[in-house]
């Protein structure tokens, strides 16, 4: 019942957000639309980690591996096909296959949580170095030159499905990215409310108990990890669509750390939290960058420390807790007033 009510709330909130996304181009200028587009693409990435870490209990320190693979898969196939639709599918498929292989060896190999973090981090650095060293004509897939540290410029952006001649305008690309964020969010909400979602939360809470009830924790964790990879890869495609460009820095350490900070500050164990954390911090970093008075990383670090110390649960759970206690107080009030009336 509670889940159902929460779901109604999520649907209403999403509907409002969708309307806002569609009308936004009439109110804000193109530069800001472009900013919002990249924020939304990154928020999809934040959701991927928010899901596998917050609900699956898997702290993946290299979520950028899947983000980057998705971005490169999109770029390479968009250049070759000249059509974005199959490229987006490959941007999801390639990271999923990679997550399946990596996840299989880690999870079925019985690697503990801490080492899982170390391995995923290392993998993202390996991919960074690997792609970084693909400069020159020798490294190309079909017509697509990987370009090493220079990256791949001039990647075709999204076109209308089935009509490669019709390239989306920046406003349309913004709408697609914004709506995609909402759909990923709602999709994850449905997944978490399902039996599968309940079971992965149970496994996060107590793996031994779940196994003693007959659930194989490994397959559930692997599927969770793969879903995270799929979403991160999709975010990669959205990101390339924004800038028509991809370079190895997409795998770099800085971004991996940022995603984790978004989730911590927004609130682990919620889905709206990582989205809020991502949008808020990206906006702040952009503002600070425009001021050029303070170093953005310095501020980011300070914010992280303040949150870990003072708001350890993150923004969304803290706000929800406050709202619930307010609600409990107002619900408790009526009997009191009745007593007052009697006396």
């Amino acid at each position: 019942m509670q889940i159902l009510n929460g779901m109604t709330g999520a649907l209403i909130g999403s509907a409002i957000a969708a309307v806002a996304i569609i009308v936004a181009p009439f109110f804000v200028d193109l530069f800001q639309i472009m900013q919002l587009t990249v924020f939304a693409a990154m928020a999809v990435l934040a959701l991927s980690l928010g899901f596998i870490w917050g609900y699956g209990g898997i702290l993946c320190f290299g979520q950028t591996s899947f983000f980057g693979l998705g971005a490169y898969a999109y770029a390479v196939s968009a250049i070759n096909f000249g059509d974005s639709t199959p490229a987006i599918l490959l941007a999801i498929l390639v990271p999923v296959v990679f997550a399946a292989l990596l996840g299989y060896f880690m999870i079925y190999g019985g690697i503990s949580d801490v080492y899982l973090g170390v391995i995923t981090l290392t993998v993202s650095l390996i991919l960074f170095n690997l792609v970084n060293s693909t400069a020159g004509d020798f490294y190309k897939i079909g017509d697509a030159r990987l370009g090493g540290f220079n990256g791949m410029p001039g990647v075709p952006t999204f076109n209308l499905p089935g009509n490669p001649g019709y390239i989306l305008t920046p406003e349309q690309a913004w709408m697609v990215t914004g709506i995609a964020l909402i759909l990923v969010y709602l999709g994850l909400r449905v997944l978490i409310a399902s039996s599968f979602g309940r079971i992965i939360i149970a496994i996060r809470e107590n793996e031994t108990r779940a196994a003693l009830l007959g659930y194989d924790p490994r397959i559930y964790k692997l599927i969770t990890f793969m879903i995270g990879g799929a979403i991160a890869g999709f975010a990669g495609a959205l990101y390339v669509n924004w800038g028509a460009f991809v370079s190895p820095t997409i795998f770099a350490l800085g971004l991996s750390a940022q995603i984790i900070i978004w989730v911590i500050i927004g609130g682990r164990g919620t889905l709206i939290g990582p989205v809020i954390g991502c949008l808020l911090l990206q906006w702040m970093v952009t503002e600070i960058g425009a001021q050029q008075a303070l170093d953005a990383n310095f501020i980011l670090g300070a914010i992280l420390i303040v949150f870990v110390l003072l708001v350890p649960k993150g923004i969304a759970p803290t706000l929800r807790g406050l709202a619930l206690s307010r609600l409990a107080r107002t619900e408790a009030a009526p009997p009191e007033t009745r007593v007052k009336v009697k006396t």
């Binding site: 107590n206 108990r209 007959g214 924790p217």
Partner: protein, 240 residues
């Protein structure tokens, strides 16, 4: 003659130089209620871990209705119909009492039937009043009941209870004893317990473990009068 519900033969586990369970031959019939006692470190919980696949045996075998399950993984053994309440409660802390049981029931059943079964067990265990409470916030005794409920919701045919009465008030202990006898009407149980009063309430046949091996296995009255049992519980010189 059909195979017994549970049979171990020469079941042994060693940790380095320590033999925690030492060549245990144990037979449990269908629908039997067996109590397993022994002093601290006798190997009772380790024996349970071997039965449920949480530890692989160094030597020997475990057969469930004639099928060899030694070395199988915990979820595989659970699917064969073995449920366990562990010594330290293993529950889903951040989830409600209802969700804890529902997850267990969901393994075999559709979501709707799982909800029905959960409500039924909550009523049986008188937990309906705290169904929406988070398990992490409950008292130890209540957590024990939640775990027992979770085990029941999985509908196992063999239930292992490791110190089910620990941390309970006298009244709760009596209710636990009643519950065990009720469960035993349809299912087999092995109960590990320290509390002799509790053992007397429920026991028929008792197996005593000492230093990993079976010391004696007999009717409860005879076991409790046995000089060797007193020796291992009280320490040798004292009982003599």
């Amino acid at each position: 003659m059909s195979a017994p519900l549970l049979q171990t033969s020469g079941l042994t586990i060693r940790f380095g130089g320590v033999t925690a369970v030492d060549r245990v031959d144990f037979v449990l019939k269908e629908a039997e209620l067996r109590c397993l006692i022994g002093p601290n470190g006798a190997g009772k919980s380790t024996f349970f871990k071997l039965l449920t696949g949480q530890l692989p045996p160094t030597e020997g075998h475990v057969h469930l209705r004639g099928q060899d399950i030694s070395g199988a993984r915990p979820h595989e053994i659970a699917r064969q119909g073995v449920g366990i309440k562990t010594q330290v409660p293993n529950v889903f802390n951040a989830m409600t009492v209802h969700e804890n049981l529902w997850i267990a029931a969901r393994h075999k059943h559709t979501p709707a039937f799982a909800t029905e079964l959960t409500d039924q067990i909550l009523t049986q265990l008188r937990l309906t009043g705290i169904a929406t409470k988070e398990v992490g916030q409950l008292a130890h005794g209540q957590r024990q009941w939640v775990e027992i409920g979770t085990v029941l919701a999985g509908e196992p045919e063999l239930i292992l209870l490791d110190e089910p009465a620990a941390g309970m008030t006298h009244e709760e202990v009596e209710r636990t004893a009643e519950l065990i006898l009720e469960i035993n009407k349809s299912r087999a149980l092995i109960v590990v317990e320290h509390d002799m009063q509790f053992i007397k309430m429920i026991a028929r046949t008792v197996t005593v473990l000492h230093q990993g091996a079976v010391l004696i296995e007999d009717d409860v009255a005879r076991v409790l009068e046995d000089a060797r049992v007193r020796d291992v519980y009280l320490g040798k010189g004292l009982a003599a």
